[in-house]
């Protein structure tokens, strides 16, 4: 697998550097840091591109086998889904998002169709890794471990959207009358909802 995504990383131009660089050699040193330009290399980037077909050391066979499903894994999957997937697929996975509404060719489908409910965790992993139709691949942005986490969360999300009261353990059913705790992640960028999320969070702790 090549990491094509990394090929096109931006390089910074330091043209706007303030004058002090002329004054103090400690201020601007002859070294490289991520994303800096460097004219030692012909493409002017300090960050080098791995040779074709290089594989990161941490990508072992073990990493490519599905990990055991734990609550922590699904929780991690939820966080990563909300960052990387929800922008297009919607927080509920139903394909309802601002970005999707602006797509000119084909918008993402709902994850709750019968076809996609039939997908296994490994198939979902594969879609993230290889891309599917107009969906680009996410192998360079989302780590292998996180792709497994997201795939498992997506399965949980599918279950949640067609859950009935019978799926709720008897001793938890009483909780359903309580006001729904808005997921903070969803309202993150927006003030109002976010505040609500926090105060309820602390109430529940009591």
């Amino acid at each position: 697998m090549t990491r094509a995504g990394l090929l096109f990383v931006g390089v910074l131009s330091l043209a706007g550097c303030p004058v002090e660089s002329d004054i103090d050699p400690m201020m601007r040193q002859e070294k490289m840091k991520p994303y800096w330009p460097n004219d030692f290399y012909s493409d002017n980037r300090a960050m080098r591109i791995p040779p074709a077909n290089a594989v990161p050391r941490e990508r072992t066979l073990a990493a490519l086998t599905p990990p055991p499903v734990t609550a922590a894994l699904v929780e991690r999957g939820r966080e990563r889904f909300d960052i990387h997937c929800a922008v297009c697929h919607g927080f509920a996975g139903d394909g309802d998002s601002v970005v999707a509404s602006k797509m000119s060719l084909r918008a993402p489908p709902s994850l709750h169709s019968d076809k996609l409910r039939g997908y296994t965790v490994a198939q979902l992993f594969e879609v993230m890794t290889q891309g599917y139709g107009y969906m680009p691949k996410y192998d360079s942005e989302v780590s292998v471990a996180d792709r497994w986490a997201i795939a498992n969360y997506a399965k949980a999300l599918q279950l949640s959207q067609r859950a009935s009261l019978d799926d709720v353990p008897a001793d938890k059913r009483g909780d359903l009358d309580k006001p729904v705790q808005p997921a903070g992640e969803k309202g993150e960028q927006h003030g109002g909802e976010h505040h609500g999320g926090t105060s309820q969070h602390s109430e529940n702790k009591e």
Binding site: A4, G5, L6, L7, F8, V9, G10, V11, L12, S13, L14, A15, G16, C17, P18, V19, E20, I23, D24, M26, M27, R28, Q29, K31, K33, P34, Y35, P37, D43, N44, R45, E79, I83, H84, V87, S97, V98, V99, K102, M103, S104, R106, Y134, P136, S140, E141, G184, E185, E188, Q189, G191, H194, H195, T198, S199, H201, S202, E203, K205, E206
Partner: protein, 199 residues
């Protein structure tokens, strides 16, 4: 020399409020506020490395292969994508090279982007909010508590309620168990030794 020192602290030299003209009119207001894209979708190394990182051109194309795919505003993005030539974003923030800074620790301990970068979701062009002088770092490092938030709100652009304290006071005033306060949950310490930032 004195003149130089003074000059260093004027907003001109601290880069504060100085808008930078970028090669592409990329607008955080549209992407963050309108489209609801999390900072980490684009700045995806912010939790794991010292640099927050700039998105690869392919990240822009994730959406722009379908959205505004004819727009002249995006000519440079498509050119970069097809030629592999990097987009030369101009750096807005830049600490002196003798300072060691690391995003991942701040994010892991619960310092939100908004605390250091301001309301990025309201900036057409990014400009530096605080002066980012040593005193600014130290003001927080001496007593980080008021600036710590629960980790799930790391990219949220505001504090619990505008003008109504911080996440920390929020937790203590609501009478909730203080062992749940963000500072204790994230095990946050004061760090003021010179070698923290000069190593």
């Amino acid at each position: 020399m004195l003149l130089l020192l003074l000059y260093k602290r004027t907003p001109l030299a601290t880069l504060q409020h100085e808008p930078v003209t970028q090669p592409i009119e990329f607008d955080h207001r549209h992407h963050v506020a309108d489209d609801g894209i999390d900072c980490r979708y684009c700045h995806n190394t912010v939790e794991t490395s010292s640099s927050a990182g700039y998105p690869a051109t392919s990240v822009c194309m994730n959406c722009h292969a379908q959205i505004w795919n004819q727009s002249p505003y995006l000519d440079l993005v498509r050119k970069s994508y097809f030629t592999g030539q990097a987009i030369e974003w101009k750096k807005v923030h830049r600490l002196p090279d003798f300072v060691y800074f690391n995003h991942s620790i701040h994010v892991a301990k619960g310092v939100g982007c908004v605390t250091c970068h301001g309301r990025v979701d309201e900036m057409a062009e990014i400009h530096q909010g605080p002066d980012m002088q040593m005193s600014w770092c130290l003001d927080c490092h001496r007593n980080p508590k008021p600036n710590i938030r629960p980790r799930q709100y790391i990219t949220a652009m505001i504090d619990p309620a505008p003008g109504q304290g911080t996440f920390e006071t929020h937790f203590s005033e609501s009478g909730s168990n203080t062992s749940q306060s963000p500072t204790t949950m994230n095990d946050v310490h004061s760090r003021t030794s010179c070698t923290t930032c000069h190593r």
